[in-house]
Symmetry: C5
Subunit: 353 residues, 5 copies
């Protein structure tokens, strides 16, 4: 996971120059349009962005979703038609943005991060999602086709719940809500990995375990960077004095805010746990070293003295009276056994065996 390079902006280009800064993640930009109110529902995939323009004027809620950000021309056309400031367009296609909320005349601009988890490679993926919220439209930009928004689409299609009775601000809330709800799924997966690591770190601490701890630590640094600013984003939305956000939506935003705080709390707890893993790893290593040292010490301490005794009677002095005695050899054996027994007793008392 490269966490640094992506934020790079094209140095030196005039501000407001719209240049896509990410990798091209989808072949073709896909534009889907949903237009609805309590009685009416229309969904279509637009071949060209111009097909969406007529909906701007209609009183029904229009949701334009754009998957893929590399078609800069399309974004510019959209911007011109909907009256979006060039700096906003620049931010939409610069995928290293920090989550943020900005109020403009006639629309609100929200940038958040959508997370997904590659189960095969145990890798955390991130994607920038920008929302433009107007009087009666929401335009959402994603780096690639995602399935999280499908949950909202189904609710609109099925005319389930409050959503079809509410305005564009509620739609924007609903999109933020599914994005943040999705964080809980991601955090649960990370929680599972922390627990699996936890077991391995005590049972079998290898350098690979350490590397995994490091990777998780970085993921948390990265996650934190994506989520902390969300707090301000949501509370900014809640407090915004814009006419674009109805009072009745405020209570739902407070609910999203609570979830954001929960996500942040959980991230902080996971960070604390992962830091704890490092401590456990370090002491597991120390423990293993200790055990190795004990084995060496026990072996050496038992055999060195008795080897010395054997060495004594390996000397070739002519006048060594013991050598002539028939019972000397068994006695030496007894002494050796006594040394072994003494040592083992000593280690037992020291709790080394």
């Amino acid at each position: 996971m490269r966490t640094i390079g992506k934020q790079r902006k094209k140095v030196g280009l005039p501000p407001g120059t719209i240049v896509y800064s990410g990798e091209k993640r989808v072949e073709r930009v896909r534009i889907t349009l949903i237009d609805y109110d309590e009685t009416h529902f229309q969904e279509k995939e637009a071949g060209a962005i111009e097909e969406c323009f007529p909906f701007k004027e209609e009183p029904t809620v229009t949701w334009i979703n754009i998957d893929g950000l590399h078609d800069v021309e399309l974004v510019e056309k959209l911007g011109t038609h909907f009256g979006i400031h060039p700096l906003v367009l620049e931010d939409i296609v610069s995928v290293g943005q920090r989550p943020k909320f900005e109020e403009y005349d006639g629309f609100l601009f929200i940038v958040v991060k959508m997370l997904s988890y590659n189960d095969e490679r145990n890798e955390l993926l991130t994607e920038q999602v920008s929302l433009l919220v107007g009087e009666n439209y929401v335009i959402s930009f994603q780096e690639r086709e995602g399935d999280v928004f499908d949950l909202v689409r189904q609710r609109i299609r099925g005319k389930k719940g409050r959503i079809v009775k509410q305005g564009a601000d509620y739609l924007a809330y609903a999109l933020l809500d599914v994005i943040i709800d999705n964080y809980f799924t991601i955090l649960e997966k990370i929680g599972d990995r922390v627990e699996s690591l936890d077991e391995r770190v005590v049972g079998d601490p290898t350098p690979k375990t350490l590397q995994e701890i490091q990777v998780m630590k970085r993921e948390m640094i990265f996650l934190r960077k994506s989520v902390w600013p969300l707090r301000e984003v949501i509370s900014g939305l809640e407090r915004a004095e814009s006419k674009l956000i109805r009072k009745s939506t405020g209570i739902y935003l407070r609910d999203v805010y609570d979830h954001t705080i929960q996500v942040i709390d959980t991230i902080e707890s996971l960070r604390d746990m992962i830091s704890g893993l490092l401590d456990v790893y370090m002491s597991s290593i120390s423990n293993k070293m200790n055990e190795v040292m004990k084995v060496l010490t026990i072996i050496a301490t038992i055999f060195i003295p008795i080897t010395f005794i054997a060495g004594i009677y390996g000397m070739n002095f002519e006048f060594m009276p013991e050598l002539k005695l028939a019972w000397a050899y068994p006695v030496v054996w007894c002494v050796m056994v006594a040394v072994i027994v003494g040592m083992v007793t000593y280690f037992k008392r020291k709790n080394w065996l």
Copy 2:
């Protein structure tokens, strides 16, 4: 103790969908109702939630306590009758909530965590308690049947103290008070475990001790997460400009607030102590390694030189004049003893023995 997974919300369901997110901890939801004022007292166990509805209109204080949150339908009926916002009902049955306080038209909503301690398994248990405080009623929701509230019930039954002369706000205060008082009991138990760990960590630091330190560390992370937001909850209640909280109750809330701060202080102190334990553990391990190394070094350093001497006179050279001398053998013994004495003296001077 799983600290992460529980917070998970059902991703993608429309907001306000009431789905119980915890484990089913009681077989049957139990509804108890206490209705009282200074002169009047009624207590009953309601078979169905509808039995409680008439009490809403009466001027006496009504306390409805619901043990078990999995009967979603019951919660919905209650919500409809008492005019509770669907998002509040959703929060009541989602057991991973952060403690919070919210003001609504006509009622206050309070979420706190109740702690208990499983002595057998040395495990900290947590339970979400939600309070709905209206003009003349308090509805409390618990995950399972608890005995902490019995203390309040007895006071009402016995008409002891101020409680029967006061309104629903005082009842809510009394419930919060026993919940927070109970934290002190829990913290004392944790304090005892810290002290017991403290002794073991110096005397006999095993990998199991380390694991126990880690478990306690996590418990503190978890406890902290449950208690820190309480501060805001209580001070929010104290400052709330709702008509539902009488002025005379304010002074009692300040008292609860003081206790909350004391709980937080104690948690922070315990955290510091547990962190300290890890340092002691690490250096106990180092100390033990040091001791092992010393034994090895002493044995090796004494015997290696004298074994060498024995080796010398084990050589088979034909012309080794010493071998022929009658006093050579005792002299060699003397040299060896001298080496031993020298080494021991050296170690004594180094404070190794």
Copy 3:
């Protein structure tokens, strides 16, 4: 030093129940009364609390000091006569309070911690002191008889300084001032112990040293908990808009506030130093291990090769031409000496000797 258990409140009793939560530290509650103004001075020891009641109405400043908190009945009588809120009385006898300042109608309530140092057992002792400050009276509660307040008594008796010309607020200030001044004495003693530890930690780091560091660390955690809230207490007093605090006393409170900040600064510095001691301890241990290892390595590295040489000529092959040569034995000795010299030179170059 138990830092946790003391804070425990009696769980479940109705709020305002006055139950002494500490150990009984004095046999008999002692009530002393001093009544003074610029011209008048009266001091007596009251047998019963009722003897103090008439002084409430008099315009002179009355100081009632109560040593020992276990006589709950006495406290209650006092409370009733002076119109003290039951929650305040509860706080006075619950000795695990956090320092705090509260304004009530007609009186101010101040809780602080008084410290003392048991030199024999090198132990920090703490005692809760509560002050009730009214229009023309101060009532002080202590857990046991203390000598710090004697300094104030002597000033009143001797009519020294400003004190006799000022009101009850100045008396309260004077009492806080001696309590906080006393902290400096305590901190100096701790500072001395830190310095003594500092020397031992480098010279002779034993597990006992580690334990002492841990004890001091905890004392600092404990001290910090007692002193940090003092800051708010004093600044609360300073800013209080109560008529009970005259403007002229404000400047003295600012002085006490400065001292409190100094105490906090010093505690933080001591904490930093004690943390530093742990680092030094850990590396002293590492250094010692290193030294042990070096001795082992030097001995082993010198003798292992020459023992091998001796081993070679201890072999019993029939055809070992060296064995027959008369000068072989001295040559072998020379080789051995050469190995020794070589090794020693190598170690010298490595700075190991």
Copy 4:
């Protein structure tokens, strides 16, 4: 990289004394002047500062860029003509300034740090850039000739984008924008180095790696010191109620502010990663030590016992019945092989082999 000494001010000189505090980095001070509006463009290199003075009065935007700060006289002349406060001139030539923003009558004063990276020596270089922003002029001061501003120059020359239609405030913004955009390039290089270090730290941790980690740590301390105050600088500019900053420029400043926050976020992430590297380094070292110990232990534990057996039968007792037995020698060999096999099995089970 010396991070301390540069900040030194000339002690004791009267304030407002203009003394250059850096090293002389360019031979000759170079003055370039660009004067432009939507229709007009003039660029020249001025031989003397006086050539720039007439442009002060003209309504077109004038950008005077000065490379090299050691010509104190020049700065003073400029200051006198443009009415700059002596303390500002002092700050311009004292190159250890903290980034700051100050409003004066008639002009704004901005100090920032420009970074560059010496690829050969892997060294981070810093340079102080001061901007004086007036009604229709910007004066920029650099320590040496830089190429980052060329990007702005080209935009003016080419009349590209908004810049030529805007005033001096937009020019100042454009200069700040390229400086901060350049930070991303620097951070990416540092990110690359962190990743390269990361690999080496696991694979081959040498003391040199440690030193490199330390150097990077210091670079981050230094970078942080340069960038953190930028936050206040930009937000100060944004909030400034000066008439010198038009409303239309505000939105661009908010964009720069976002970039600054991103830079700070990235620096904090890098700091966390570099701290993590140290942990990995320490445990890599421990791991290597562990491996060394294991080899020693395995060798010693296998050979010490069998060497002892050989020692036994090297004894010269006359009555050792085994020595006479023809099959004793092969049996001893078998015992030795059995010992080896036993040990190897034991180590295999312990996961040491």
Copy 5:
């Protein structure tokens, strides 16, 4: 450096009692008086404090400097004449004050710390400087004769710069400015020591190096305690609504404030570096241990197996066919050499040699 004891106040004395709390650092209190305005200059050394009193009434700026604080009577006389509050006088002679700024009727009271560096003993010295700033006078108190203020004296004598045209507030500023400028000199010296330590810590980490790191760490704790409050002092001065500080002086105070922030920044950087040194020290120690272990392991691992081989053929079995073979001895030598070569190759591959 004792950092704790000095702050001790005389416990129990009435507040406002003027008792010198430091060591007597000068033999005789020295009073110097400078009286000046734009046209007039008078300098004299006063034998008695009373000689200074007449200057209080004159419109010229009067600077009374007092070196040595132990003459409490002198301070009291001064206080009475100039109308200084007793608590201020107490603070002036209590040398453990925290830097602070207080406004009183008719004068301002400023306490700061002056630093100096004993190059011989590599020791940081501190001295309390108090300033009383009135309408047209400044009274400065120092613990001993210092030379930093000479820089200001020379400027007044030489009528250089702004100083003689400004009032007492500018003089106070000028004194603060030289004190804070002097911090940069001190920090540079500490920076040099850090760099010298840095080299030694990698090259030759001895326990003495560790002690030096600890000493520097404490010096930084101490320095920080002296400098952090300065921030508030200066910004307090800047914001003070006292008539004693003219508007024109405000801009100079802002400059001093900037320097204070720079000093704080530098101290924090130095602290970070010194903490880093400890990490390097610890891993240098580990590295050295590792090297020792390697030498031991290499020697042991090479010689233990071949010593075993020698041991085999040192056995005295009668039936050992190898012993009779003429070429057996050279073959054994070859085997031994092969073992050595094998081991060395193994170590080479492991990068141990």
